[in-house]
Amino acid sequence: MTKFRRERSSFRDTSGFLFFHEKNLYRAINSSYKEEYDYLISSGLYKKLTELHLLISHTEMENLEIDCNYYKIIKPELISFISYPYEWSFSQLKDAALTTLEIQKIAMKYGMTLKDASAFNVQFYNGKPIFIDTLSFEKYNEGQIWKPYRQFCQHFLAPLALMSKKDIRLGFLSKTFIDGIPLDLTAKLLPKTTFGNFGIAAHIHAHSKSQKHYENKDVKIKERTMSKRSFEGLIGNLYSSIKKMSWKYKKTEWGDYYSDTNYTEKSFEEKKKIVLSALDMIKPKNVWDMGANIGVFSRLSSSKGINTISFDIDPLAVEKNYLMCLQNQEQKILPLILDLTNPSPSIGWDNNERMSISQRGPVDAVFALALIHHMAISNNLPFNKLAEFFSKICKFLVIEFISKSDSQVQRLLLTREDIFEDYNQEHFEYEFFKFFKTLKSQKILESGRTIYILEKISSKN
């Protein structure tokens, strides 16, 4: 029998579970799900969805046995980086929602339906959303309701409506409400004008009222029937309601950062060359670009075929970055929202269901370009804390030091007292060199900035 370790978030589904064996990820299908799984394959739905890159493909494992009752073991294609809905920009969440509904529409044509529509079942793979839960399908029986309706509304429609109609930052509520934003809260937060929008009025306002109306009602149901036309109408209406949603963004903090820097064209090109030389030197398999803005430097890495996560705190920068990925059909870059001073924590059951950002590392290389002054001065983070954090998440660090005389730093100091005596290059080097050794350091021409290419000092040394 093979030794295995269950994947941390895989415990709710009674149809099967995910497990790791020798660093590979597998999915065990329980005997209770045999009929549905066989139908998924024999109906042609699996083939259709995988051909369209809407569902993750898998291989059936014949020679792997584990010590528990199961029907089959499959090996799904591995997603290199798991991201969560509260890290996605508006359009990423919208595309994930539309992908889920598209799958539901196709499944109906093959006599199946989704029994689960959690936003956590969608991941970004090769630049596009893809459904990762192979066991979320069941046979459709004429007259049945759409079981994951409430879940879909809470996981997708509620945050999208709040982001679109109220404030983009309300999307972060998904981090607190792991099973989706409650509809009564969503209804309270949405402006009254949304009553005039049929999709939001019906699926959120009326839905929330209906939940309240039937709360604790002690009445038995005789039958739950819904014609196929109504079922398809419901899905179609959710699809068109979401398709119409948009985020009319205003200028945010960093949205036009690159037209507002003190780089000359020459120094900007020089910086790019240094980053490219760093990539040639360290040859990373994957890169996390922290404070990536719209991903200019992330693209130096992704264009070399390196899997690159492009993090930024600003939802607008991430949105622009994602739209650019779609436009250019980029597959190796994934833009995500992340506040480095309060990064995604480990949440859910036993604080262990969804991974923190550190748990999703370590990564080969981190870019920290034009970032350190924001952390040290705007957020009072000492260099030793920053150096220690980066040493935990990466092997190589490409980091830019910006001196106090730089106009960007001076701008940060405009509204605060300069209590940052230790903010100087000597102290920066003193703290970072406790954890890293220098492979190369280079001043950027015409800028007074320095880029360091650092390698983590092995704990054995």
Partner: protein, 78 residues
């Protein structure tokens, strides 16, 4: 264009009806935190289903009328 306006008016009236509480039948409820979600989806599904049927019906009438008029036009030309 006219078709779109009619469907919009239709949906708005039905949405308003939803909020008037008339649409929540007591007979279908059962003890389940999701019962409100089940009932509302049946109502919305039915409304949208009817809406689609009206649209299809209207489209057919339009098609019939336009083909009749086109026939008359072509007859005139002859």
């Amino acid at each position: 264009m006219l078709n779109m306006k009619i469907s919009q008016i239709f949906f708005t009236i039905l949405t308003l009806l939803l909020f008037s509480q008339f649409s929540f039948p007591n007979a279908f409820a059962y003890i389940d935190p999701g019962s409100g979600s089940i009932i509302i989806q049946m109502i919305i599904g039915a409304l949208v289903g009817v809406g689609i049927a009206v649209k299809v019906f209207w489209f057919k009438i339009k098609l019939r009328l336009s083909s009749t008029f086109n026939k008359n036009d072509s007859n005139d030309q002859i």
